[in-house]
C-alpha cells in the first residue's frame, strides 16, 4: 500500500521503461487520487481530468443542463477532486460515485450561488459524519457491486427513467417533456422503475 502510494504516474512510466517492458496504462482512479493526495501529482490529475471531466459534462448534459454550465460544473468538480483528494475513502464509495457526488454539490453551489446555498454542506455532513454500520467495512464496495448488477437488469425504458430520476430528481413536467409521455404516467413509471431497482437491490443482498 505504502509503495503504491509513493508511485507517481511518471514514476510508473520510468519503472516500466527501466524494466524494458512496454508501458501499459491501466486506468486506476484510486491510485491516481492517492497520488494527488500524497504528492500533488499533476500528471495523475491530468489523467483523472481527461477521463472524468468529459463524463461529468456528458452526464449533466444528458440531464438537460446546458453545455456551458455543464463545462463549468465539470471544471469545478475536478478542481475539487484535486483539493479534496486526501478525503477520498475507497472503502466508502468508488471513485466514480465520489466524483458524481462532488459534481452534484458543485452544481448546487453554482446554480444557487446568488442565494449562498448551504445545501452542499448538508450533503457533506451526511457523507462524512453519519455513523456507519459497525459491521460493514466492505459495505461501500458491496453496495457498488450490487447497484451495478441491478442496473444491468433494468430494461432500456426503466434505465432511462431511473437516470432522469436520480440525476434530475422528481421533476414530472421535465421527464414527461423529455420522454414525450403523458404527465399522468410519469409518476407511476418513476415509482415503478425505482421500486424495480429497489427490488433488484434487495434480491442481490
Amino acid at each position: 500500500m505504502v509503495a503504491a502510494l509513493a508511485l507517481t504516474v511518471d514514476g510508473m512510466r520510468k519503472a516500466g521503461a527501466a524494466q524494458g517492458g512496454r508501458f501499459v496504462v491501466l486506468f486506476d482512479p484510486n491510485t491516481l487520487i492517492a497520488a494527488i493526495a500524497c504528492s500533488g501529482d499533476r500528471a495523475a490529475f491530468v489523467a483523472l481530468f481527461d477521463h472524468f471531466a468529459p463524463r461529468v459534462k456528458g452526464l449533466l448534459m444528458r440531464g438537460g443542463t446546458p453545455a456551458e454550465l455543464a463545462e463549468e460544473v465539470a471544471q469545478e468538480t475536478l478542481l475539487t477532486v484535486w483539493r479534496k483528494a486526501a478525503l477520498f475513502d475507497p472503502a466508502k464509495a468508488s471513485a466514480s460515485t465520489w466524483i458524481a457526488t462532488i459534481a452534484r454539490n458543485q452544481r448546487i453551489d453554482i446554480a444557487r450561488r446568488e442565494t449562498r446555498s448551504r445545501l452542499s454542506q448538508v450533503y457533506e455532513i451526511l457523507d462524512e459524519e453519519a455513523p456507519e454500520q459497525p459491521d460493514t467495512t466492505l459495505a461501500g464496495a458491496e453496495r457498488e457491486a450490487r447497484v451495478r448488477a441491478a442496473m444491468t437488469q433494468l430494461s432500456a425504458d426503466q434505465y432511462r427513467v431511473v437516470e432522469l430520476a436520480v440525476l434530475e430528481g422528481f421533476s414530472h413536467q421535465d421527464v414527461a417533456q423529455r420522454l414525450a409521455i403523458p404527465l399522468g404516467t410519469v409518476k407511476s413509471r418513476l415509482r415503478l422503475a425505482l421500486s424495480h431497482l429497489r427490488g433488484k437491490l434487495e434480491d442481490l443482498r
Binding site: 500533488g40 444557487r112 455532513i125 451526511l126 436520480v166 430528481g169
Partner: protein, 208 residues
Amino acid sequence: MSIAHRPSDEMLATFAAGQLDEGLALVVAAHVEADRESRKRVQELQAVQGALLDAVEPVAMDMGPPYSRLVGPDAAEFGQASPAAEPGLPGVLRPYGLGPWRPIGIRIALRRVEVPGAEARVFMLRAGPGIALPHHKHSGLEWTTILSGAYEHEYGRYAAGDFDEADSDHDHTPRVDPVEGCTCIVAMTGNVLFQGWLGRLLQPLVRL
C-alpha cells in the same frame, strides 16, 4: 431508535439528486442523519449516479485542465471547521443560523431556522407533554422530522427520527406524547391556515 415512517423512494431520489428546495431538503436530511435505512438508500442512489457516470457518453471539454488553479491542498479546506453542533440538534443544522426559542403559547415554543433562498419556511417546534398541536389546513407542503419525543395522529405514531409528510387534503391535529413531549423540525410551503386560538397565535409567526 426505531424508525417507522420514511420518505418515499421518489422523494429520496429527488433529495439525492440535489433537486429539492433547500428548506424541504434540510428536513429530509435531518431524517436521513437519524435513520440508517434511509441513509443506505441515499448511498445506493449515489452509487447509481456513479454507475451512470461510468456508463455515460463523454462530451469533449472546451477547456483543458485548470493548471493555473492547481495549488497545494487548500488550507482553508481543512482549517475551516464549521461551528460545533448544538447538543441534541442534528449535525445537518450546523451551517444554518437559528433564532431563539420563542414561546407562542402555553407549553409550546417555536425556533426559526434561517435558510436563505429557500421557498419553504423552516422552524423547530417544541411542545409540552399531552397538548394538541394547532389544528390546521394548508395549501402547500408540510414536511416534519421528529427530533425528540413523539406525536400521534390518524396515520400513526411519529417518534424521534420519523419523517412525516402531511397530506394537504387532510386537516389534522397531532397529539403530543403525554410523557415525553415533542420537538420537531418542520418545512412548510404555501399558505397555512390555523384554526382556534392557538392557531391564531401561531399564524403571524409562521407566515413570515
